[in-house]
Symmetry: C2
Subunit: 238 residues, 2 copies
């Protein structure tokens, strides 16, 4: 939180919280099912993720940022109609109340940033008809970044618990500093990319394609060095 | 939600959620203790109220208002440093993470209202040092109303599940239309006021004393008639 609070420029934080949601579901005896990393969101699970993401995690992050004198404001996609989505339809799998993003309210985010507020976004969206939806945090981050790239030079940082995309999943020193489309193709062919990494990388290239200036993957604590290019994996077209 | 969305002028909604919090605590086997209507908030209970108030209830209200084309934004006291509080100290009772309000960020609320946003406030505050606190919703409503009464003609409505303050708790037609300080004293002496009503009424008079133009108590569905004076109980100094 401290390093994010100290970062210059406009900032938006999109967070997840899957592990805590899974733990709470366990305590409440609500079985969880994941398909290709995506949570099947029945009505009870939607309650849980709304409580954990938009409540517990979001407000604790905001309180920590405020502690560092950072004017954070926690929102979900319903607040200010920030991120509108529709219930996912899939020919074979019923994902339940999972949402795919339709539209980011760019004006709303710009207005918050112009008030020097730091939006902290929980991965819960709405459909505009009163229904909340569970939406992948990486996708929300990418959609917000691309929508704002028309107004700002935008850098999208995927912060997670590793130093970057690793050549050897067990070796934190094996960070691949740069991935371009050719490298990505090779890595996938050689099955050197960890399966969980593929949606992140697909998202990263999609973001670059739609105007985001830079995409970096790495450890949250290293945010300054991720942006300066000293650490992490940079996704690039060059 | 529909009647609130249709109400003209600037609006702020402060909500509670105690019943749902108590139910979730039961499901998680976390015993709850109430002293004079106030919840003893240990660390586990703070998690629960943060999830239920700032997550589940807040986001569902916002989604419903958005559905009625009302530009709602859900916040807690931590967001935008909206409501700062301190941990309650009491000579005899340890209330845990219960917060008493220090300051309402009037500028933040004014700025939201000037953007035609309807703030939906969960009764969770923060102390500015990273700690979230559980705070009584009626008190937050009163503190926000008094802080805004310097800028707006402010009407404070306590909406609950009854038609107003009742002479006979079992008879919904026994609404007392007007309570002034003299009536209040008499009602208390004759023990005709339900105990749970007393903090609401004390809050109501405190609000009037500090510049709030009108205070009404009644049913949420009747919000238009509460404000016009056709229904509910009006608290007044005259």
């Amino acid at each position: 939180m401290h390093s994010l609070a100290a970062l210059p420029g406009n900032r938006i934080l999109v967070h997840g919280g899957g592990k805590l949601a899974t733990r709470l579901a366990g305590q409440l005896n609500i079985p969880q099912q994941l398909v290709e990393g995506r949570r099947i969101t029945d009505a009870e699970t939607l309650k849980i993720v709304t409580m954990v993401y938009a409540g517990y995690i979001n407000k604790n992050i905001v309180a920590q940022l405020q502690r560092h004198h950072c004017a954070a404001i926690g929102i979900s996609g319903a607040d200010g109609n920030a991120v509108r989505a529709h219930k996912r339809t899939h020919p074979a799998i019923d994902y339940g109340f999972a949402g795919d993003v339709d539209e980011v309210n760019t004006d709303f985010f710009r207005s918050l940033l112009e008030q020097n507020l730091l939006p902290v976004v929980a991965p819960i969206t709405h459909d505009g008809h009163g229904q909340l939806l569970n939406t992948n945090a990486d996708t929300i981050a990418q959609e917000i970044a691309r929508s704002l790239s028309a107004y700002y030079e935008t850098c999208l940082v995927y912060a997670f618990e590793k130093n970057g995309v690793l050549m050897d999943a067990g070796d934190e020193s094996s960070v691949i500093p740069k991935i371009d489309p050719d490298t990505y193709r090779e890595l996938k062919q050689q099955q050197k990319v960890f399966a969980g990494m593929i949606p992140k990388l697909d998202n990263a290239f999609a973001a670059l394609d739609s105007g985001v200036a830079c995409v970096v993957i790495g450890r949250a604590e290293d945010i300054h060095q991720l942006i300066s290019g000293e650490k992490g994996t940079r996704i690039t077209h060059e």
